[in-house]
């Protein structure tokens, strides 16, 4: 019971902070909406997309891009959570969490889950606006996508936690945005399908195929249509577990890098 109360408390605090920071909420929505309403509209006529699973017919670009933008919302939320962890560590409030009697791995996992809850709220707010713009996702897809969002949240949240255990100072975070977030997003199938990228460059397509975020986007894409892509699911789950495991080691009292920064 204590463990559940602790989980509830960490999620509750994260939600309180999220709702008290309205600019964070609007910032999280504006970014993908600009891509959807401006970028996708512009490319709608220029970019032709062949029929590829899970789609059973030709689709406009604005439909194709939605799973990628969902991934973008989750990726940026994970980075926001990571930034928040670094800030908490520098400001000292992380210590309140780390001196809880519950195991460190559990506390870090709770932080991850809290970040996932916030990211899912952001995703559904985005999907609500996207639905008003172009209602092309099956109604049931809004439900079947939920497990994929959770799995993707573990993958990206794990990455964020790992980064937060590695980053020494808050000032270094801008570098992370440039060297981690943008390559992760652009070197994936978020904006173009893999076959389209391969038409331009085999090397780029191979890099995209090695990027776990690609599989997170595809997992979401298939889930919108009530389908499970087993390869994507396997990559997301394994990569998520590895990243979370590394983050837990990073915060470990005996081996972690936290010892140098607290």
């Amino acid at each position: 019971m204590k463990w559940l109360i602790c989980l509830y408390g960490i999620i509750w605090r994260e939600l309180l902070r999220f709702f008290s920071q309205r600019s964070r909420f609007f910032g999280a929505l504006v970014r993908p909406l600009i891509w959807l309403l401006v970028f996708a509209t512009g490319f709608r006529a220029a970019l032709g997309l062949a029929i590829v699973p899970p789609y059973e017919t030709y689709i406009p670009y604005s439909i194709y891009i939605v799973p990628g933008l969902v991934g973008m919302v989750q990726l940026f939320n994970a980075m926001q959570s990571s930034l928040s962890m670094v800030y908490d560590r520098e400001m000292g409030s992380m210590r309140a969490l780390l001196t809880s009697p519950l195991p460190r791995w559990y506390l870090i996992s709770c932080k991850l889950l809290a970040g996932i809850v916030v990211s899912i709220l952001q995703v559904y707010a985005f999907l609500g606006i996207a639905w008003a713009f172009d209602d092309a996702i099956p109604t049931l897809g809004y439900v079947t996508v939920l497990p994929a969002l959770i799995a993707n949240g573990v993958l990206l949240g794990g990455l964020g936690l790992l980064l937060s255990s590695l980053i020494r100072q808050l000032e270094n975070f801008a570098g992370v945005m440039n060297f981690v977030v943008f390559p992760v997003f652009f070197l994936s199938t978020a904006l173009y399908p893999l076959w389209k990228i391969r038409e331009g460059s085999d090397l780029l397509a191979d890099i995209c195929a090695l990027n776990p975020f690609t599989y997170g986007v595809e997992l979401v894409r298939f889930a919108f249509y009530g389908q499970l892509d087993p390869v994507s699911a396997a990559v997301v789950v394994v990569a998520g577990a590895v990243l979370l495991g590394c983050a837990i080691v990073g915060y470990s009292p005996s081996r972690g890098l936290i010892r140098r920064k607290t």
Binding site: I5, Y8, G9, I10, W12, R17, G92, R95, T99, S254
Partner: protein, 244 residues
């Protein structure tokens, strides 16, 4: 009787620098012990180890007999900590901060609400409960941090230079409150400071830390007698003169 805190042969290195060198001392139940030392003596490192922010490389730390490294959960459940840097979430209200701390210790809603009211009343902050921590002054923030550290009813309270940045009356008030906790509730207190005027030389025990080593420990008046001085400041100004 088992000591509240037992530090045995603890050493810790930051790279090449030895921050703590075979530190050993005890804090007895229901006593106020001051960890005295100048800046850089190793007090904050010791607090980080005693609250298991990270593990010590050598030695053991026991809280009421339980090894902190082997059984951290049981040990941390009996420990309350007030860190040197303020650690409140400034965007949350006083009650929200305390409720979060209660949840981290697994306290249910009803139990947490009861303890929050009790601690806020005890520390004279009941009327500030719904204010954001950001709007409180330094003294009030410190009291809230103490209230937070007491939420799970610890038997040992660690405070790392809690009076830094406070004016003299607020400092005095805070020290008196912590002494009352020690006397009335039987809580063992380890109070790190570099300000000797925060001590009661007759009632308090001291552990004198200098360059990562314990130079002296015992009741303050006994340590003074052994060092051949009547003024704590002499002891503090040149701790190297006290035999380890």
């Amino acid at each position: 009787m088992t000591p509240a805190l037992e530090v045995s042969g603890v050493s810790y290195r930051f790279g090449e620098r030895l921050a703590l060198d075979s530190v050993s001392f005890t804090v007895e139940v229901a006593t106020f012990t001051a960890l005295l030392g100048p800046n850089g003596a190793g007090k904050t490192t010791l607090f980080a180890l005693a609250s298991r922010l990270f593990d010590c490389s050598e030695g053991t730390i026991r809280i009421f007999g339980g090894d902190l490294r082997r059984h951290p959960g049981a040990a941390l459940a009996r420990l309350g900590v007030v860190f040197q840097d303020q650690t409140l979430d400034l965007d949350l209200t006083v009650v929200q901060n305390l409720r979060y701390a209660a949840a981290l210790h697994g306290l249910g809603h009803r139990d947490a609400a009861r303890r929050i009211e009790r601690e806020l009343s005890r520390l004279g902050l009941a009327e500030r409960r719904n204010e954001k921590a950001r709007r409180l002054n330094g003294g009030h923030r410190r009291r809230i941090e103490i209230a937070r550290a007491l939420m799970h009813e610890p038997a040992l309270l660690l405070l790392d230079e809690p009076t830094v940045g406070l004016d003299v009356p607020t400092r005095r008030d805070l020290i008196d409150q912590v002494h009352r906790l020690c006397r009335d509730d039987g809580i063992a207190v380890l109070w790190a400071t570099h300000l000797v005027d925060e001590l009661d030389p007759v009632l308090d025990r001291i552990v004198l830390l200098h360059r990562g080593q314990v130079r002296a420990q015992g009741r303050a008046d006994e340590v003074l007698a052994a060092a051949g001085t009547a003024d704590l400041r002499c002891l503090f100004d040149d701790p190297a003169t006290v035999a380890p």
